[in-house]
Amino acid sequence: MVVLCGAIVFLCGYIGYLFSSRLKDHAEYFKEMVNLCSKLSLNLSFLQNKLPVVLETSITNHKGDYAKTISSFCEKLNTGVNCGVFLPEYITDNERKTIETFLHGLGKNDAETEQQNVCNYKAVFQNCFEQANTKYAKNGRSIIKISGCVGLAIAILIF
């Protein structure tokens, strides 16, 4: 019985941790998008390397959802096949549209216009990051605590 109760508390706590992780991933995803914009901006102002080179460099040593998004977009660029770009589930519809418009607009302008676009999107992604980060800071730990408490309550009831 003690083992069962322990398992229930652990399970509830783990579910809470997963929800909390989604909030954290959401914030980190946009943090990476902001970093990407900085890298693109730097590239535009100096080396002007080709887009696939910059994108592939930006995901070196990255494994998360951001890397999957960029990797799928690079594949689309390289193959020319009109396949969709990977976007994680926690991305909202509005955010999805913004990211897709941003990615599909890359490389289609001269350096000056491209620089302006990247700066605009950097501000948008920074805003998304701040919202997601606030949500995580506000709710992230609470979710784990609440789910742990729920697990404990169930365990007490069973016991």
């Binding site: 390397n49 080709k50 490389g107 491209e114």
Partner: protein, 305 residues
């Protein structure tokens, strides 16, 4: 390379109807039939299913431009402003559209590109062999290669650089690849053979190469494409007078035509070049018409490579 460059429907039609080895150029014009230069003759490309001429759309043109620039138009805008674009394999794309000008009248970019001309280079080994015997006999002589567009000047120049680079006496060559056509340097890599002893400066003006290149790289020979104006001619004369040999090309069908251009007239009158080689496409690109010495006396006439 063409498979990546062209929209799938166009590539399918071209590759199924023509041997790609003999395709010299493809012309895509918005809402006009796709034209191909195959073995020196122009044809319209037909759809393999309907047998109708393939009509190019603005999307087809955009597809080619984005593929050629690896989805990075910002990186090639300087080239586009000059009316061309180069991509892997030495393929050159000429563009025509609406120029956006700065307040000082310079082209800022070209929008609504409505026509593109894709020119596919053909590496022909030893095509400059005959000329080499006249140029490299007793030291490298300065030479001017005259030919109309499409007569193989750049191919000839590339082979010349390659052949000189293989000579037993080491000749330090500096290639002024203003339009990325000679060595086709892309992403920092030279993709076309220009020999073992060549340094390549890509994208810089002739003025820069002839001034700074001589100072910093100390070449024995400078090779450059297409003399365009008197500024180029002056830079060449200055280099030759300072002891560096120069091999350059210019658009002109003959010595008479060349003398009608002020820049070439200046070079010929001052006997800057010890050899003048006239090429044509009379019997296919790279047909030798004649080789002249500095006094414009014929030293070799007719033949092919």
């Amino acid at each position: 390379m063409l498979s990546r460059l062209l929209p799938p429907n166009i590539y399918e039609a071209v590759s199924s109807a023509f041997n790609l080895q003999n395709v010299y150029e493809l012309r895509l014009r918005e809402n006009k039939p796709l034209a191909i230069n195959f073995g020196g003759k122009m044809y319209f490309v037909k759809n393999i299913k309907t047998s109708q001429n393939i009509i190019c759309s603005s999307k087809d043109i955009e597809y080619v431009l984005l593929s050629a620039s690896e989805n990075s138009l910002y990186a090639v805008n300087n080239q586009i402003c000059q009316g061309f674009l180069t991509c892997d394999g030495g393929i050159r794309i000429g563009v025509a559209g609406e120029h956006i000008l700065t307040s000082s009248g310079e082209t800022k970019t070209i929008k609504n590109i409505s026509s593109i001309n894709i020119r596919i280079p053909h590496e022909i080994k030893n095509c400059a062999h005959t000329a080499l015997t006249f140029i490299a006999n007793g030291g490298i002589k300065s030479a001017l290669i005259l030919a109309p567009p499409g007569a193989g000047k750049t191919t000839f120049l590339r082979d010349l650089a390659n052949s000189i680079g293989q000579m037993s006496k080491v000749v330090n060559i500096l290639i002024c690849d203003e339009r990325y056509e000679i060595a086709n340097s892309a992403n920092g890599k030279i993709s076309l053979g220009v020999g073992q002893t060549a340094d390549v400066i890509s994208g810089a003006t002739k003025k820069y190469v002839f001034e700074q290149g001589i100072r910093t790289l100390k070449p024995d020979l400078i090779i450059c494409d297409e003399i365009m104006n008197e500024e180029d001619a002056c830079a060449i004369i200055k280099a030759i007078r300072s002891g560096v040999s120069v091999i350059a090309t210019a658009h002109s069908g003959s010595i008479v035509d060349a003398k009608s251009r002020s820049d070439l007239k200046m070079l010929l009158d001052q006997k800057a070049f010890e050899r003048i080689i006239v090429l044509s496409s009379r019997n296919g690109p790279g047909t030798y018409e004649a080789i002249y010495n500095a006094s414009l006396e014929i030293v070799y006439k007719s033949g092919e490579f």
